[in-house]
Amino acid sequence: MEPIDLELEEGELELPSEPMHLNMGPSHPAMHGTVRIVLELSGENIMKADVQIGYLHRGFEKMCERGTWAQVFPYADRLNYVSPMLNNVGYALAVEKMAGLVVPDRCQWYRMILGELARISDHLTCTGAMAMELGAITPFLWWIKGRELVWDILEEETGARLTHSFGRIGGMAKPPTTQLKDLIRNGVPTILHLLEEGEKLLLKNRIFIDRLENVGVISGADAKALGWTGPCLRASGVAYDIRKSHPYLKYDEVDFDVPIGARGDTMDRFLVRLAEIRQSARILLQCVERMPDDGPVNCDDPRFVLPEKMDVYTTIEGTIQHFKLIMEGAKVPAGECYSYTEGGNGELGFYLVSDGSGTPHRVRIRPPCFPIVGGLEQLITNRMLSDIVPTFGSLNMIGGECDH
């Protein structure tokens, strides 16, 4: 056969050089949560990226200014809906800081148990979803199975799988159930086993590793200036974990390590999250050993804590206390305070301003993934289009929290 001689003009071979604009999201399988990235591409290279959030804005802060202090809990649930218990406890601790309350020991251990369960669920979801977006569906299914286990325990405790609304000012809604300790002792090894199985599939996979390593690198100093906290900051080598640096609840009494990464790339963020699940499991088992089986869960402070239902119906004091707390709300002392806890994604802060009435003057949430997503643009500019998916996945954006 004779070769086809096309005799093309030189000019016709030139590729179009104008940058191409591409909208990624807000409805895109890899943009879990709702985020839109407007990209300017040259070939497959990203010249410019504009990350746009706000598609899930629900006016959390405005709504909080309309109810009582206690009515914020259901809203707090819906911020980070993968680990709502951490938000509940974070908000409760913030109000308690203003009110000068310290919850009983049993409640502190209980809050730690529920919080660590939520953290495990958060990390399993994030790492699993990230692997799934890169095409690895099996580890996702296994890790979601692990999350299911966590949610079963939380359902047993709180009655709800996702939005528990279980925190209260000065305690929790209910004392721990009798089977909690057994559920955790049985559940934790299963979760760790599932974690290991999923890990085996991924961490020896050349394709997976190549897509993660040296992608989305950020230095510790840059990450700090951006306001990154949590696993993403620790992956960049900054060992800042609020549970260790400024222990709250009983975190100073349990033994755990703070895993940190070396390079600050996507792989490190992935590995740090996996390591943190193991640390959370360690904390859980210690908490189970140390949580007393009986004793009060709520503070004994009628200004903030609702009375027993039996007292409400049988005594006049109980009725009045209940009425005042429900109708007027607990009166939190006037002033301002910033309280911070370690959420699933990093420092979850609540800045509260009270005018001394039963309604918050201002509830400001400092969502950990807001600054983290703010740094996304920096991570993906001058990278390839396909790097967005693992990079974005490793940041663990939670729409409800990021968009308030």
């Binding site: 706000g54 309309r66 200036a225 709300g329 802060g349 600054p371």
Partner: protein, 196 residues
Amino acid sequence: MSKLVLEKLAAKLGDKLRETHSHFGDDTALVAPDAWHEAAQLLRDDPALDFDLFVDLCAVDYPSRAEGRFEVVLHLYSTTKRHRVRLKTRVGDEEGNGADLDTLTDVWSGANWFERETFDMMGVVFRGHPDLRRILMYPEFEGHPLRKDYAANHTQPLVPYRTEEDAGTILEKVAPFGTDEGMAFGRKWFERGPTS
């Protein structure tokens, strides 16, 4: 809590530091608006302070104040010295005008989105910000939703609500909140009604 941070600020800023307190154990410094950038720079660059982690920036609305209606609040942390500080300043008059402030994006890059959010929610303008757009609300949105005089039941739909003629039936549009809803004790701005 160490008083070091507040003492350092007092020594450097002089009378531009309006007041300090440590309520609930949070060290707080209120500075004059023109010392905002200077104070932030000092907090980051002084080796004894070394505030390297940008934590939070937001604004609080105090509608009753004639001068300095908006309080812009900055939270910082130092990962090396392990201390925190809250830096505040007051801007804007009673109507919310003249609320502008120097940007901190050149001090901490993380200030970028937080300043956009504060602008979006409260209408505080940051001078010198590279890209001061709305971030949570859509560009067509009018007003600043977290201001106390923005009624919570006020809506601004991008697509107009269906009218009864269009639908051919009676529609009762229920706003997510009524003005009489919630705990309105001691809240005077409810009585003003929606601002539209």
